[in-house]
Symmetry: C2
DNA sequence: CTGAAAGCGCTTACAG
DNA sequence: CTGAAAGCGCTTACAG
């Protein structure tokens, strides 16, 4: 019941192991008759090369890793799926890893590159680094950073155009008549949070609108964090009339909490978010959100990684994924009653900018 | 720049390779001083064992594969995530593979078991087998089949209680007043389709209701297939007043198409589905659906696989995942106007059963 | 063109 | 207890 090895094939074909190996790897053109003898033996024995052994002697695996903080988040799953498709087209397998956003797991996954278990990795982390990850990435070398940054790592990067997206979302809210706009972000220090915040602030400034510290919240990327931020915002003396939640996941938390509190979106409160996850258009309300292409994210990352492995792409490379605003049903004009007057009353507030 | 090997460590510690290996694998209790020498050398050199080499000589990898037809489908992603968590708790890594439901990819993934690239696999296929897959599973041995069956494979299985779920969904529709109920299934021959169909038919029969062939459709598991089945159903002379779509994915297709055609759910048409994907409660309308626990699916599958590898679980084992109906907003009483009378008129139709 | 042999980096029976 | 050596199944310089 032992699986046949290349030696068995060689014996059966009356040839040397080397000849068989070379033939199987197409590094040699054998006379037809000889080639057939090998192929027949392979057939008959049901021989399958042992990939582990090949990997050990060759030092490469034709396998890539995709490390995500949460494979259950639809946007990340969609990126993984696209990366897989592109990797396959380029002759690579893709292993998908769930890091649960734990640095220890990210580190051990990255070490599989040094191991030659995989040739390289696409890393989608989702926390700020204390330096460990940066060092590991530098050591692993064949890594592309997608969606979030790891500072100090000299590798290619693929980010969404966060700043433009943030500005797009905010301008849309302003154009619809909102002045008191809250910002619900992820953790501070992440490029997603900082980029989208910069876009938000830029758009507010353009419009001559103040950015109030109490209206900009930060926290984890989770439904719960979105819900919590929403509740805090609504319990303010003068709640905002619109929210820019910088991820659909956060917006989902906002929607759930709003439902519970009986506030209607968009009648009582407008919401714009970011990502455009698969079912965003079917939610209630349909989410107005900044779209970034998961497909392009995955494909570009995979291509960049393969290029890097083959020395065809520089480590300084940066790729920006374009964004666009998708208007659906979660935004409307602010309710007549509210904040218009309130915001005037607060004109002199020292916490205001601009 | 070459990564340090166990030989380097041995040299640095002034010991044999064997001693180092045994110490690192805790198969030996060295005098404290000696142990420290090794640990220091490991530290200093930054030694990390080469997993590939270990795997080749040991013949096992402490790694499991999770093969899914579509990692981008939220339910599957959730199962993968749970399987990963359980595997990690049991000391195994989990690689997630996207097979795209292509048999050639499933086969090559399965062959990684024979390869010793992975110790075993959880296989979630989604097509009927022509025998190839069954043979590969039999050969690979350390496989657990989840969600869908592969006939002729003598391995453990984890299925939802499809029949009960199908009956639950159908009875709910009947209890709400529906008589003309359509069934939108996946491909014929899959246990999900057949089991849920059996439950559907059982519930209809219980209620003394006919099952009309034109009202039961089968097709791929895709949004598109759901939309198409819906359109065909609605263009019938007497369309159904309710649909049991046996997967949320299908229901999402139905909802989209209904939106386009201007039919309102649940006022014009009631819909029940199956799965309860993550955002089902936030859709418009909130989906009334049969819940199956993705978490339990993933955890049980992983545990069964590890048990199988360790010879602790028999290949005949079957585990059934309980289901329950979650009532939300996609079902209401049938519209006054319709089918009540129509269905009487068709009493004598030969295509009717029972 | 072809084969014998070394080597990839571990683990583990075997002998001391 | 400890080490020298064989072996896991391939690939590939090297020599013929």
């Amino acid at each position: 019941m032992r699986s046949p090895t290349i030696r068995d094939v060689a014996k059966a074909a009356g040839l040397s192991v080397a000849a068989v190996s070379r033939h199987l790897n197409r590094q040699i053109a054998l006379p037809d008759e000889t080639a057939r003898r090998i192929d027949d033996a392979v057939q008959r024995l049901g021989y399958q090369p042992n990939v582990i052994a090949r990997r050990l002697s060759r030092g490469s695996s034709e396998t890539l890793a995709f490390i995500t903080s949460d494979i259950a988040y639809p946007f990340f799953a969609a990126v993984a799926s696209a990366a897989e498709a592109e990797a396959a087209a380029l002759g690579y397998s893709l292993l998908i890893f769930n890091s649960r956003n734990e640095i220890s797991r990210e580190l051990s996954l990255l070490s599989r590159i040094t191991d030659h278990q995989v040739d390289g990795a696409i890393l989608m982390t989702n926390h700020v680094d204390d330096g460990q990850l940066g060092e590991a990435v530098r050591k692993a070398r064949f890594v592309v950073l997608a969606d979030e940054d790891v500072s100090g790592a000299d590798v290619p990067r693929v980010f969404a155009d966060n700043e433009t997206g943030g500005a797009l979302a905010t301008r849309h809210l302003i154009a619809t008549g909102h002045h008191r706009i809250a910002f619900i972000g992820g953790p501070r220090g992440l490029v997603s949070t900082e980029g989208r915040l910069a876009g938000f602030e830029m758009a507010m400034k353009e419009a001559g609108l103040p950015t109030e510290a109490a209206l900009t919240r930060f926290g984890f990327y989770s439904e719960q964090a979105g819900a919590e931020a929403f509740r805090e915002l609504m319990s303010m003396p003068e709640p905002p009339t619109a929210i820019f939640a910088i991820a659909d996941l956060l917006a989902v938390g906002v929607i759930s909490a709003a439902r519970e509190m009986g506030v209607t979106i968009p009648d009582d409160l407008s919401v714009v978010s970011f990502d455009d996850i698969p079912y965003a258009h079917l939610l209630n309300p349909p989410l107005t959100t900044v779209h970034q292409s998961a497909d392009e994210f995955g494909r570009v990352s995979a291509r960049l990684l393969v290029d890097l492995i083959h020395g065809r792409s520089g480590s300084g490379e940066r790729h920006s994924i374009p964004v666009k605003l998708i208007e659906r049903g979660s935004v409307s004009a602010p309710p007549r009653s509210s904040s218009q007057d309130n915001s005037k009353r607060r004109q002199g507030d020292p916490s205001q900018t601009g």
